[in-house]
Amino acid sequence: MTLLAFARGPALQAATLIMIAGMFWRLAGILLLRRRPAHAAARHSLLVRLSGGARTIITRTIPRRNFWPRVATGVSMSYVMHIGLFVILFAGAPHILVFHQITGLSWPNLPKGVIVIASALTLAALVALLVRRLNNPVLRLLSNVDDYLSWLLVFLPITTGILLSGETVAGYGTLLALHILSVEVLMIWLPFGKLMHVALVFAGRGVIGFNFARKGAAT
Amino acid sequence: MRDFNFLADDILVDALLAEIAGLLQIFLDDGVSGSIDLLGLPLSASCLAALEQQLGKGEITAVLTAAGTSEFRETSFPGVWWSSHADETGRIVAMLIEVAAVPEILLAAQEDMRRGHKRLLEATLVNKYRKRA
């Protein structure tokens, strides 16, 4: 079996199933944990509590003004990376094609030139973030295998994807196999490290907002 | 004919003209002829037309009828020939730029001349015998 056939066949199936099982495991494992019982009565109705949760998901996308000077660099670079990645994944023709093949849904793509620019910015931001992590003494102290491995497993698909779309350095078949395999490794790792923030960031903000609304605090 | 257009026409035409000039120099120095296989290059139809236009027309057009028709046109540059070969159905099967005093295929081959000579002699002998009889 060629590497490409393996990547598009058994590896893809295995990675998908592991990622699904892992994400459900992690979410169930967190949501079913014991929580501190709230003895006070709820200040607001369930609807207000839920909308509080939703509001918090949105309001916490931007740091509070008084924190801004300290966190501006990291947050900006991080947003460049995340938005760039969003553009590549959801506005790039080949990825829309993947979603279409899975779900049947399709939507218009952005021109290739836009994706090229987005890829360059994403890669630059990703590298800049690693440099920052290595140079900042506090971050370096706090960083562990999870941080560096997660970085690497995001770096590889982006890099192989750029080479593949440029059809350069190696043959198309080889580049495609490497790109798909790198995505599969990312998929397998995703539920078990900090990359699970793809789901948890929204869940976390939502729960905090819900609890704040319950207490009548601002959200 | 393949249809590529990811390279600008003028860049390719310039490169080809430079190569032809190089082949001409080699011929003038050493007497060695050279050719460029046009079908082996990623040239669009418009690029070929541009090249043809740049090379222009010379004094000679020769037509060869052997396993289909082939045409040899000297360009406005003496010694630079545009050769185009078609098979019996008229399909172009080869197209070359040849740099030579004359494309080799136009010269009569020794082997063919030998056979023709033999045939010619036989024709004369037969006639001689006929006259006697």
Binding site: L17, A21, V98, N109 | R115
Partner: protein, 354 residues
């Protein structure tokens, strides 16, 4: 078996074709083989001097499509004459004799050209159960291959079946089908894959062999570089549409009618090495993509087992919703178990203890 003494040049002259015809043929072949154009006179001179080349063709586990493609290719007169000259001494489907008479022809051909004949194979070689799944005159293909390969100058594996196992090798491969290269080692082998292969490729290889006495340059899969050095994608006339992001979304939609790229409809052009996009089929008439269907990758090994022909290269095998559901259920169960175990270990959260 009579061995003709006349050279190819003499035979052509007898038929009224002078040196110019042969030189023209050589010019065309040189271009097709991607050789420098200056090689044409050398090829013509070598062809003129060439003696008859014996070819023995053995058909194994095949559909006969490879032979048909060569027969149906309408070659110009001089090409046909030259290929008559390359003497097809033994070919079961074409020859008049059959049974023991045919076997005798085969023995005589081998005896008359020891170490000099080209062995052409089409069809895969079944290996399971002693090769009993394909027999000729009661004799297994693998046994015939081993015997006749030993006296051959070189072996041409014609078609994807002979080269890599092809369709018979598709999962679950009940006959244990294999390609020639999996059975024979120590002999020069040329793979000419394709289902069927482009006829001009075989012509090119034979002409090269007769002209230069050796096989053309091969890639790491033993395919002639001149024809298999690039992918369909690299030579495809629809490539500008791929580059511009113009894809047909379904067969016969507006994009398909405009002749847009067929990548999203499963075209395997980017990963398939062959000459279809440049040489095309039926004397340059068309090829699958030009006729509106994506490339199925038929000249690559195991092309039949790469998933659907209509799933693009950007996708792959789906797990199916059922399996996904099972995975989710397992995840839920595991996560719940982990959470419950955590819950039972801790009592009241520490902050509450005052």
């Amino acid at each position: 078996m009579t061995q003709y003494a006349e050279t190819l040049g003499e035979m052509l002259a007898r038929r009224g074709f002078g040196r110019r015809s042969l030189l023209k043929f050589a010019i065309v072949m040189t271009s097709s083989l991607a050789l420098p154009p200056g090689m044409a006179p050398v090829m013509a001179a070598n062809l003129a001097k060439a003696k008859r080349q014996s070819v023995i063709w053995l058909s194994f586990q095949k559909c006969t499509g490879c032979l048909e493609t060569l027969l149906r290719s309408s070659a110009p007169t001089i090409d046909a004459l030259i290929f008559d000259f390359i003497s097809l001494d033994y070919q079961e489907s074409l020859m008049a004799s059959a049974g023991t008479a045919a076997e005798l022809t085969l023995r005589q051909a081998v005896a008359a050209n020891p170490g000099e004949y080209l062995l052409a194979i089409d069809g895969s070689v079944p290996l399971k159960d002693g090769g009993v799944y394909s027999l000729t005159g009661g004799r297994s293909n693998v046994s015939m291959l081993e015997e006749f390969a030993s006296g051959a100058k070189a072996i041409l594996a014609i078609g994807t079946c002979a080269a890599y196992g092809g369709i018979p090798k598709a999962h679950p491969n009940p006959t244990g089908a294999a390609g020639v290269e999996d059975v024979i080692s120590g002999k020069p082998i040329v793979n000419i894959p394709g289902c069927p292969p482009v006829p001009e490729v075989l012509s090119g290889v034979l002409v090269y062999f007769v002209s230069f006495g050796r096989l053309p340059d091969l890639d790491d899969r033993k395919r002639p570089l001149a024809y298999f050095g690039t992918t369909i994608h690299d030579q495809c006339y629809r490539r500008p549409f791929y580059d511009q992001g113009k894809f047909a979304k379904s067969f016969d939609d507006e994009g398909a009618r405009q002749g847009w790229c067929l990548f999203e409809l499963g075209c395997k052009g980017p990963t398939t090495h062959n000459a279809c996009a440049s040489l095309k089929w039926n004397n340059g008439t068309s090829f699958p993509i030009e006729s509106g269907h994506g490339c199925i990758g038929c000249s690559e090994p195991d092309f039949w087992d790469q998933g659907s022909f209509y799933t693009s290269l950007a996708g792959g095998s789906a797990t199916g919703w059922r399996n996904a559901g099972i995975a989710a259920a397992i995840g839920l169960a595991g996560g719940a178990a982990a959470a419950l175990s955590a819950r039972s270990k801790s009592s009241v959260p520490p902050e509450e203890k005052i």
